[in-house]
């Protein structure tokens, strides 16, 4: 097993940089998992925001609006100077700023409905748009009561009461109300990491074996090509298993309970299947790399490219129609699909869509492996 040993000697020589990548991407995977989980919590259940409110209204309608906003958010004062206000928003001390003018009640009762209030959303705060929707709903209901003939105070009281009404929402299954587990977000990031690790790790070793002089000497040796290639293949597989084990170990430390469940097992299987696909992509990428610098470039091109297009960082639902169609030609899209479907599975037998996604990823593995073989053959023939 000389070639196998040589493979790992080359890996060992690059251990410092590979270990650095593993540690950093492990840390990033944990961080991203937590950030994505935090972001998702704000989408459905709503979140309490820090709202800077300046109520100059002389009437009672402004007080009513302030009371309504205060019931669900923290109301803070608005700095007087524009610079101070911009600072407060810049340093994320406020999520939304609302100014109620002094003639708000007067104009509202007179029937003016357009552009009465000035609201400013802090850049990057997606939840603030939900608050704006709630405010519009409040004002519309208030306007209905006033137009119908209710007095100011009565209209405000009735509006506040109506705004307390919530929709009756039930979840199909009991677990759905908990939202997605942390493990889901941890595994969401795996495609980016695996692609980079495989291309850098495997690619470095493959480059060494593809060195012209070394390859020529190996071809003259008594060891058959089949044996040499099998040993290299085994080396790649063992490397993939080592990286997989490192990330799985971190998953067990981070979300240990989740990993012991059915979904955790399926996620582990999903990551393993994608590890195989990453190896194939690495094999394909290595055919185009003429140096280690080129490998670094390719690892980032494939890693970032597949991750963005496949919906790893940004959900495919947020993309345009053409982007969503293009995503289906990227293996990481099917990994993400499997990750989503795993959350809906209650038993191994119910995971038909999950196994289909596994199959698609394996098909991509085959496709990239074949493409790599083709490019390799063309390079050999052109020499």
């Amino acid at each position: 097993m000389q070639v196998f040993k040589a493979f790992f000697r080359i890996l060992y020589k690059n251990k410092a940089s590979l270990l650095m990548y593993i540690v950093i991407y492990l840390a990033l995977a944990v961080t991203v998992g937590n950030v994505l989980e935090e972001n998702s919590k704000t989408e459905f259940s709503g979140v309490s925001l820090d709202i800077g409110l300046e109520n100059k209204d002389k009437g009672s309608l402004g007080d009513g609006l302030e009371e309504y906003l205060g019931s669900q958010n923290q109301i803070l004062g608005v700095p007087e100077k524009k610079e101070d206000l911009q600072d407060a928003m810049y340093y994320e001390e406020l999520d939304y700023v609302l100014v109620i003018p002094e003639d708000f009640t007067e104009k509202f009762q007179a029937g003016e409905q357009e552009g009465l209030l000035e609201g400013t959303v802090v850049p990057g705060s997606s939840s603030a748009y939900l608050v704006e929707q709630e405010m519009v709903s409040f004002l519309r209901t208030l306007a209905m009561y006033l137009k119908a003939g209710y007095g100011e105070r009565d209209a405000v009281a009735r509006t506040l009461k109506d705004m307390e009404r919530k929709a009756e929402v039930q979840f199909l299954e009991e677990g759905d109300s908990q939202g997605k587990p942390t493990g889901f977000y941890y595994f969401q990031y795996i495609p980016y990491v695996f692609l980079i690790m495989m291309i850098l790790g495997v690619g470095g070793c493959m480059k060494a074996f593809q060195n012209k002089d070394l390859a020529a000497r190996n071809k003259c040796s008594s060891m058959s090509f089949l044996s040499q290639n099998l040993q290299i293949f085994l080396g790649c597989a063992v490397y993939m298993v080592i990286v997989y084990a490192a990330f799985l170990g971190m998953a067990c430390l981070n979300v240990g309970d989740y990993m012991l469940s059915l979904r955790g097992a399926l996620n582990a299987a999903n990551a393993f299947v994608f590890g195989i696909c990453s190896l194939s992509v690495a094999w394909f990428a290595v055919q185009f790399a003429q140096s280690s610098a080129m490998l670094t470039i390719l690892s980032n091109v494939f890693g970032l490219g597949f991750s963005f297009l496949g919906g790893v960082f940004v959900s495919v639902d947020m993309m345009g129609e053409s982007a969503r169609n293009m995503a289906k030609f990227v293996p990481s899209y099917w990994y993400v699909v499997a990750n989503e479907e795993i959350q809906k599975v209650g038993a191994f037998a119910e995971g038909e869509k999950v196994y289909q996604a596994f199959g698609m990823v394996l098909m991509f593995s085959l496709a990239f492996f074949s493409a790599g073989l083709l490019v390799n053959r063309m390079k050999v023939k052109s020499k």
Binding site: S17, V32, V35, L36, E38, N39, E43, F44, E83, Q86, D87, M89, Y90, V97, Q113, L116, L117, G119, T120, P123, G124, S125, L130, L139, R140, T141, A143, M144, Y145, K147, G149, R158, K161, D162, M163, R165, A167, E168, V169, Q170, F171, L172, D176, S177, K180, S291, S292, T296, I297, G305, F308, F313, V314, D317, M319, G320, E321, A323, M326, K344
Partner: protein, 393 residues
């Protein structure tokens, strides 16, 4: 001599294909990917694809909600309604072909009393979902609006029936009560954060150039450097033109990439050209000096230093929001010190400040920190390499 070496430094560096790819082509590829993935957001169009929903209506149930759903489907294109039985609806939800089920029970005329409304009994419509997400939030919002508006109409109908027509006119009016305020002259768009982070990453790619400069300067790192150091010229007289050439080329590459984003992909990065160019230049200088500092530090092999440069660049870009939206807000809230020294965050916030705020306080703050970081890196590099002599290499 300076300009001679500077000219040759430009010619040498411009022929380096790796640099051309990293600094020129890679940002263009990534920018194009961003544009393909979510380019429509920069036009402020809300990317709605119709939310599929199943509707189960018991016989005898009130028909107003069905009318609302029909209006939302045909006039707004917000939802796609499939009226079906309960079993089929649950199957659609389980298979993911519907995002939710509106289930409407039959309610008697007497059940919707004021007391009933006060006691939070609703109109008999419930929403069944299988997960929590944006589409489910939309459906929840539709039902909630209907519940509230129904309660309002019922209350008005009981107490002020003469005013119900006027109340209905308010609903039809679709007024914009809120006037959109802004922090400054330009409007904000959260998708632009990705492009700002991309520009920051592009600036920091100068680190690879700076590393190369260090390798060509330190005699123990390359044979070329050893030969250059053996020349009868002060080392620093050879270093400054090299660094100047790298900075110039990096600046040219960044301008090309940013121009591609602004003119080919129509990304609205603002119209304050002078300040934007200054930011890009400062970012490029910071990137080059970062790479140079890494290159002159320690005795790690070149591959290790290159890996370190790329890792710092990617991690810095990650925390400025290149891959995950919202992370920069979390860092600003919980670890503000890191947000102040992260090079990519500084560049991103400087570009963002130009586009959003109409004053320059925050912009100058970021630029000041960037210049301070650059000065610190330059001073550190100088302290490491000054009076360096080799007994043997």
């Amino acid at each position: 001599m300076f300009f001679r070496l500077y000219r040759y430094g430009l010619i040498r560096s411009s022929r380096d294909r790796m640099m051309i790819f990293w600094n020129l082509i890679f940002p263009v590829i990534l920018g194009s990917l961003f544009h393909v993935a979510f380019g429509n957001y920069t036009d402020k169009e809300v990317l709605f694809h119709q939310v599929p929903v199943a509707y189960v209506q018991e016989e005898g149930a009130d028909g107003n909600f069905a009318l609302l759903l029909e209006a939302l489907e045909t006039e707004n294109g917000l939802i796609q309604v499939q009226k079906t039985s309960q079993e089929k609806a649950e199957k659609l939800l389980q298979e993911g072909e519907a995002e939710g089920i509106f289930f409407q029970k039959k309610t008697g005329a007497g059940e919707q009393s004021l007391e009933g409304l006060a006691g939070q009994e609703n109109s008999g419509i419930s929403l069944v979902v299988a997960e929590q997400g944006i589409n489910q939030t939309i459906l929840n919002s539709i039902l909630e609006q209907y519940e509230r508006t129904s309660a309002t109409f019922i209350a008005i109908g009981k107490e002020h029936p003469e005013g119900i027509q006027k109340a209905a006119e308010v609903l039809e009016g679709e007024y914009s009560y809120l006037k959109e305020g802004s922090l400054g002259d330009a409007a904000s768009n959260s998708i632009l954060d990705y492009f700002y982070s991309l520009i920051a990453m592009d600036c920091l790619m100068g680190a690879v150039m700076g590393l190369q400069c260090a390798v060509e300067f330190k005699a123990n790192l390359s044979a070329l450097a050893a030969r250059r150091m053996a020349a009868g010229v002060s080392r620093f007289r050879m270093l400054w033109p090299d660094l100047a050439a790298k900075v110039t080329l990096q600046f040219v590459y960044i301008i090309f990439s940013v121009s591609y984003l602004m003119f080919a992909l129509d990304v609205p990065l603002g119209d304050q050209w002078g300040f934007l160019l200054l930011t890009l230049f400062s970012g490029g200088v910071l990137g080059v000096f970062l790479g140079f500092f890494i290159g002159v530090c320690g005795k790690m092999p070149y591959q290790m230093k290159e890996a370190l440069c790329v890792t710092i660049m990617m991690v810095s870009s990650f925390f400025s929001g290149l891959m995950v939206s919202g992370i920069q807000r979390l860092i600003e809230r919980y670890v503000p010190v890191f947000a102040r020294i992260n090079p990519a965050s500084l560049i991103t916030k400087a570009c963002c400040s130009l586009n959003i705020y109409d004053t320059y306080g925050r912009y100058l703050e970021n630029m000041g920190i960037m210049l301070a970081l650059t000065a610190a890196l330059a001073a550190g590099s100088f302290l490491i390499v000054r009076r360096e002599r080799y007994a043997g290499i």
